[in-house]
Symmetry: C2
Subunit: 205 residues, 2 copies
């Protein structure tokens, strides 16, 4: 089977990371978690090559010029990008490539690998709930928090671009949805080798 | 949420009924199992209005003329058909309509409600395995069994028409796939009321 891209977007604070962590625990051997390049500074607990590749603005611009990215986006003054080469390698190895990227990035990625993408938007039931979770997380300044809420409102306008929508109200239900989307897509006809399946079927006479 | 049609095809003996029975047990309140009309004679354990509506050839031809069917098909000299009206009522009530019909029926149904259909083909890994299961089931004469195998080979040529393909080798895995397809489709963006969701999101400020 050829792999596919499970592309997840949604406001920070909606619970994407928690859901993706659970997914990784359950489907570890089948998944390829793409590591993004970014120009933003590492948070205290973040390691280069594990959470992100931390690069300079100049290096990032050079990579854009060289068409190195499946997608890239500018978020809150920083750049984020996903390697096209590593993604394609993983797909050829039959992996499910998990991408956690924003709406801008999704639009660019679609231009390159639309056929391979299953897109999921994960959000809270309302803006108030998102605000609460961001305040609880306590990683943002007031200005950053306001910027995040504003971006979230903009992203919510583009829901219809996504294949699936999960309102992450109850974690267990949201996880059940996300894993179902993953499992279902392993059984998509178009991802399977129909010639081989049909030949095998007829041989067994 | 508006409902959708979970349409399942595949050779008799591949395990469709067993899988659909499990689905019904788990998702009973969400599902609407359509009862087909048929001109074939009831088997010993089959009841009118439960397993099928058993009707005469003349009644069936009249129903076709009146455009009463979402789909109908002739299989092994008998006719089978699904009510369009009951299907639409169930969809409007947000139900997941489960249809167990053959390739011909699927093609006709697509012409009427394509947008609403999620199609799944369930089969065995090869013809030999299907034959074994049919012999074990012991409901067919030799001629019927041969006809079934021939029809199965014809249907296998049309796999690519289906959204999903399940090779029912291990029942547990096949059921995991089928329930994942059902759950995933409940979270399809296009089936959800995006205006309402977006309004709710912005109101919570």
């Amino acid at each position: 089977m050829s792999g596919f891209i499970l592309l997840v977007s949604g406001p920070s604070g909606a619970g994407k990371s928690t859901l993706l962590k659970k997914l990784f625990e359950e489907f570890e051997t089948e998944l390829y978690f793409s590591i993004s390049s970014t120009t933003r500074l590492p948070r205290e607990d973040e390691k280069n090559g594990v959470h992100y590749y931390f690069v300079s603005h100049d290096e990032f611009q050079e990579d854009i010029k060289n068409d190195y990215f499946l997608e890239w986006a500018k978020v809150h003054e920083n750049f984020y990008g996903t390697s096209l080469k590593y993604t394609e390698e993983a797909l050829n190895n039959g992996k499910i490539v998990v991408l956690d990227i924003d709406v801008q990035g999704y639009k660019i990625a679609k231009k390159k690998l639309q056929d391979k993408i299953v897109s999921v938007f994960i959000t809270t039931k309302d803006k108030e709930e998102l605000k609460k979770r961001l305040i609880k997380r306590n990683t943002d300044t007031i200005t950053q928090l306001e910027k995040r809420l504003e971006n979230a409102s903009d992203e919510m306008k583009e829901l219809c671009e996504y294949d699936y929508l999960i309102i992450n109200d109850k974690l267990d239900q949201s996880y059940e949805a996300l894993r179902a989307i993953l499992i279902a897509h392993k059984f998509k006809t178009k991802g399977q080798d129909l010639d081989r399946i049909q030949n095998t079927w007829n041989k067994g006479e």
